[in-house]
Symmetry: C2
Subunit: 101 residues, 2 copies
DNA sequence: CCAAATAGTAACCGTACGGTTACACTTTGT
DNA sequence: ACAAAGTGTAACCGTACGGTTACTATTTGG
């Protein structure tokens, strides 16, 4: 299922929880959170912290996949997009070391 | 890419951002958050709120998919998996229907 | 009817999330 | 050499997230 909003996520969590025959207390305990928090998350609370969300999904054996929609946006670089050298150079340009004076 | 931790998510966000040629300020503004927040998220902050995360992923044109790992109760023989009767029974057993007095 | 189980809600409270501002460090371009 | 761009970090502060506890529906079962 594609997740676009916190409400989507809450609905999916609730559906999975009930299919597994768990109540809110059981899931909250397994995920290391509180029942209050789970209630709010299942209702689509956008302020829920990602760490607790991930623990909850793991407790429900739900996997998350992220994917870039468009391969890459090359605005005006023409049509030659073979080796994507810019990305390679950019990644090599990452802050390598912390140099001390 | 499979997301298991907040660090995974932060790394993916950063990779996508740089591939799109955006700096932290541009992405933060587009996602409606602050650069400080984005720095922490890219470093794997588990306390980041899911609402801001979703806005950021949308700004990067990243889609999220969630999926239940096991259908419901791994039936060892996956040949013809009848109309998952267990789920039906479970849901009926839990909170079946709203019955009128 | 009453009791039990599950879920939604409210209050209070300590903590930390997120925004703002400022400064330090590195790389790049002039 | 310098300045600019990009990033990491620190401080302060208002707000709200999450935990706890309690109470309220709603349904089921005795």
């Amino acid at each position: 299922m594609r997740i676009r909003t916190a409400t989507d996520l809450g609905a999916f969590i609730r559906e999975r929880r009930t299919k597994l025959g768990m109540d809110q207390i059981a899931l909250a305990k397994k995920a290391g959170t509180s029942r209050k928090w789970l209630v709010e998350v299942e209702q689509g609370k956008p302020g829920a912290e990602i760490g607790l969300i991930l623990r909850t999904l793991k407790s429900l054996e739900i996997s998350i996949e992220v994917e870039a929609d468009s391969p890459v946006e090359t605005p005006s670089q023409g049509k030659a997009k073979a080796p994507d050298i810019n990305s390679v150079l950019d990644s090599l340009k990452k802050r390598p070391l912390k140099k001390q004076i």
